[in-house]
Symmetry: C2
């Protein structure tokens, strides 16, 4: 990975605006909302993810010698501002939707209140972190819905956007339901179970496919997953059975075989027959190769006897919706609630809370209201996670976040659990009377 502290992970304009605020003494508290302007048409809900890394960042934000020294070379900042940066700490408060929770368009998923300079400077990092992990978790949640009771494992490390994308993407897909990841670093850093099979190159290293299977199964007793498609998948299955028999004689079970190419549904059926006829009904079938929720739903819908899926690039890079339009907008400052009126980009002013209502059948609706507004029904969704720059409570474990996500997915209305592309009725997100009044009132002031 490349060196460089996160304090300079910021767009230049955050710093030039901050310098101007500093010069003018405009550093009173301000509130910004981080929200998704709209959902991609391929998504019916998003899964909030990335908060944990944002809190780490906010708690540890420092401009050190190296950063200040670089900034001084830009000929943009005076000594007084650089001194301000040298002592800058994030001292504000943050309210946020917990990780693993479903969120919808226009709802604040994070609300930052801090002296204006601090609140402005953190924009780039927060947007990047939340939009990336939320994107991956939202995609992985769809894979989880398609998989139902079947396992899926994150195989995406090799073709996503850099090392950190893979590491945090593993985290996000684990939150949304992946049982394990192939990425060893994610095991070390986050404690996610790691899982792996074998590559074609291993099979090719041996003169005969069966020799490769035998060697690998012996060297990883009970843990081997044999990749059987290097030459011919069904023939490979027969060789796997041959090796499984030898192993069984020594009391060593073969765990699974993997298919990685061809017509996975048809091949899985033929491979299942070969395994079953060989007496190995316990040997599982893992499938991989350009999989996503659509392919998995189709395979399982047609009864393919696949036990577990390795899901890679299409999940890790969320290739059908490869970005989310997260924004971070000023909603209140020393002069009161604020509103932006650019075409199609109207923001909701003021400090806000989201109230989520559920009925017997699950989630019913969300109401965006002013923070202090009295509303009837619904549970507040935003929790205070940072006060005076420090966490208000220890973060939930990754396991707890996974549980929350699983529960939330279970509470989603059935129509949101569909994969599309057919039309569906969006989840109702409405605006409270108090917020509507404020919106009308400020809108008129600007006209």
């Amino acid at each position: 990975m490349t060196a460089g502290g996160p304090a300079l992970f910021t767009d230049l304009y955050e710093l030039t605006m901050a310098a101007s605020y500093h010069a003018r003494g405009l550093d009173e508290p301000a509130t910004f909302d981080l929200f998704f302007r709209s959902l991609p048409e391929q998504r019916r809900f998003l899964v909030s993810c990335g908060l944990e890394q944002c809190l780490d960042y906010l708690e540890s934000l420092r401009f050190g010698e190296s950063e200040l020294s670089y900034l001084s070379t830009l000929d943009l900042f005076d000594a007084s501002f650089l001194d301000r940066l040298a002592e800058l700490r994030f001292t504000g408060e943050v309210w946020a939707v917990p990780e693993g929770e479903a969120v919808f368009e226009r709802e604040p998923v994070m609300r930052v209140t801090a002296p204006l300079i601090e609140a402005q400077l953190v924009e780039t990092y927060l947007l990047n972190c939340i939009s990336h992990q939320t994107m991956v978790a939202s995609k992985a949640a769809r894979v989880a819905l398609a998989c139902g009771d079947h396992d899926f494992v994150d195989f995406s490390a090799r073709r996503v956007q850099g090392n950190e994308a893979a590491l945090l993407g593993s985290r996000a897909s684990h939150v949304a339901g992946a049982s394990a990841t192939s990425l060893v670093l994610a095991g070390q850093v986050f404690g996610i179970p790691v899982s792996g099979t074998m590559a074609h190159s291993y099979v090719m290293r041996f003169r005969r496919e069966a020799d490769a299977f035998r060697a690998f199964a012996r060297d990883l007793p009970g843990r081997a997953v044999l990749l059987i498609d290097t030459y011919d998948t069904v023939e490979g299955a027969r060789r796997a059975v041959e090796v499984a028999r030898e192993l069984a004689a020594d009391g060593v079970p073969l765990q699974a075989v993997r298919l990685d190419s061809g017509d996975l549904g048809e091949l899985a059926r033929r491979v299942r027959s070969v395994l079953d006829e060989g007496g190995f009904t316990d040997v599982r079938i893992v499938a991989s190769g350009d999989l996503d929720e659509y392919r998995i739903a189709s395979l399982l819908g047609h009864g393919a006897p696949i036990d577990s899926f390795g899901v890679g690039t299409k999940m890790g890079a969320s290739t059908d919706a490869p970005s989310l339009n997260a924004v971070y907008k000023l909603v209140e400052d020393a002069d009161g609630p604020k509103l932006k009126l650019s075409p199609d980009k109207v923001t909701l002013p003021g400090r806000k809370q989201v109230h989520r209502s559920r009925g017997g059948a699950g989630l019913e609706s969300d109401l965006i209201a002013l923070h202090d507004e009295e509303v009837s029904g619904g549970e507040p969704l935003l929790e205070q996670v940072l006060a005076k720059g420090a966490r208000t409570a220890p973060s939930p474990s990754l396991e707890a976040v996974r549980r929350r996500c699983r529960e939330t997915l279970g509470l989603l209305p059935q129509r949101l659990r569909g994969l599309g592309p057919e039309e569906f009725e969006p989840f109702p997100v409405t605006i409270s009377a108090g917020l509507q009044d404020l919106l009308t009132c400020i809108g008129q002031v600007h006209e």
Copy 2:
């Protein structure tokens, strides 16, 4: 950013295969090719990028205490293998296409020859690094072609896949033509020029738009780019002129105005008129907001008077082709050239070189040949960059890589410089007689 050394940035199966090779003494030199199986249909060429970070990784690869200690918890590896990892260094040789060069499908962009364990372990990192930066550089090259003589600046940091993706993406887009980046960290780490404007939140912080313009222009004399679409773009342009007049009286020029929403072509024309009528023909117009090569080509094709483009998510996340199918395949080992026969995934065996032919009009064709094969015409494209695990020469500067990319783009046949989606004749990449003979010969052995 999250901690964690890159040695564990590897898929688990690389380690389990390596452990098996170690147990069996199968650690003779092997050669792997890294190549793109096919080009996305939205791409007519790719721009090789990411080699520099791969060489850093290979030269510094080490399994330290923390990594070994974690691996020992997995109950997969014996002490002998962990000892092997503790002393493992990458000792092999690497041949690669220089960064900034155009590459096409099936051509090796990197060729790794090393003891099998080393060559296998580095797969995940190399694929991740090359496929990410090549993806971004290839997209940015299309933006560069659309922009022609107009500037463009990388604005993508906030919505790509994590911090490192933004940092290395800035590098890749700079290689392919972006004149600057908004990401300050990319300035510090890579020396890329940084550039920025102002946000809507700055405008909203002031009671009147003109007050915000005045303050920012005074605080950044000669460097201010005023964002004029917070309330009404044309009205914003008039206020910018008003402020520019006051500044001019003090000898301070206004650099530019920025449009970020609405019909950019129509608004640019109206804003240009306002600026020109005000006597500010030198004040430039910057446009941003969901831009990509298609929008830019359309705007410029319709004569929009836009001087510079801020290009964000669609470039940084390459949203129309958000992944590349890079693969890393065993092509030769102790037993000779190797071949994989999975359906649609046949690989080209043996150590290879690519010979690129050019004529008076530019690049004409590529020939993939065996490394030692005599071929007529063409310049070899793969250069040796690592010998015995160390760089064979200092890396070229980023400026030199940019120059190479600019030259290559200039040599591309006109049909490859088009943006699509109309049909086009792909760049001819052929296979030499020697390679064809080898392919036929090994294919028959397997039948």
